[in-house]
């Protein structure tokens, strides 16, 4: 029997081919569904672990060492979390996580505009509340709770 012409153009041995059938593709969607659920469950587990126990209290320096309108970087609750302390007025101190909520770049305090600016994608946060003023950041900065004990400033908690 003469070989059909199309077999000369497509000389593939079909039994040896490794095509994905529609049935196999449909079954693979179940694995994708399982992976999505596991990712969600991992986030929930991480959130549950993160919520355990109160944060430590840490002395972050003397209030007099920071001039009005000045800012200083410190780490809280551990060395992997950079934070920025800002002195807005004689008695007003605020502290926030220094990680921009967009993609994690360190934000810098601009005293003249009284805001924290992210140099990476031109986002800005209000220096009093940490709220987003403009730019791509989707959430406000994490707020660090401060206590003044005499002339010492203490970080006593965080809402990151």
């Amino acid at each position: 029997m003469k070989t059909p012409a199309w077999k000369d153009d497509f000389p593939i041995s079909w039994p040896d081919d490794d095509l994905v059938t529609r049935r196999e593709f449909t079954k693979s969607l179940v694995w994708v569904s399982c992976a999505s659920f596991l990712a969600n469950a991992a986030l929930l587990g991480r959130a549950a672990v993160r919520g355990d126990g109160p944060l430590p209290q840490k002395n972050i320096g003397r209030a007099d060492d920071l001039p009005i309108g000045g800012a200083r970087v410190f780490h809280y609750p551990d060395e992997t979390e950079p934070c920025v302390l800002v002195r807005l007025s004689e008695q007003e101190f605020v502290a926030f996580s220094q990680r921009c909520t967009h993609l994690g770049c360190p934000v810098l305090y601009q005293a003249k505009e009284q805001r924290l600016e992210c140099p990476c994608h031109e986002g800005a946060f209000d220096a009093r509340t940490g709220a987003v003023l403009y730019g791509p950041p989707p959430r406000p900065l994490g707020v660090i709770a401060l206590e003044t004990r005499g002339n010492e400033l203490w970080a006593v908690g965080a809402k990151l």
Binding site: L29, V30, S36, F37, A47, A48, P138
Partner: protein
């Protein structure tokens, strides 16, 4: 045609495409739930994260139930 009539083959293909479409909708929905979960994780909103995880679990259960319709020799196989 492999021992199946044309009518039976058409029914099998229709069932396969219906299951595939439903699974695609479930998977897309779970991706949206995952996005919601990530956002609520970063905001510290554990309750929303729990809800999205439970909804994703329902989606996975539904996907597992649906795939039984296309396993050879499984439920409703002619």
């Amino acid at each position: 045609m492999n021992g199946f009539s044309r009518r039976q083959q058409s029914q099998r293909m229709a069932r396969l495409y219906a299951v595939m479409t439903c699974l695609l909708i479930v998977v897309v929905g779970q991706f949206v739930l995952l996005l919601v979960g990530v956002e609520s994780f970063w905001r510290g909103q554990t309750q929303i994260l729990l809800a999205s995880t439970l909804a994703s679990a329902v989606g996975l259960a539904g996907a597992t139930w649906l795939v039984r319709y296309i396993i050879p020799g499984g439920t409703h196989e002619n």
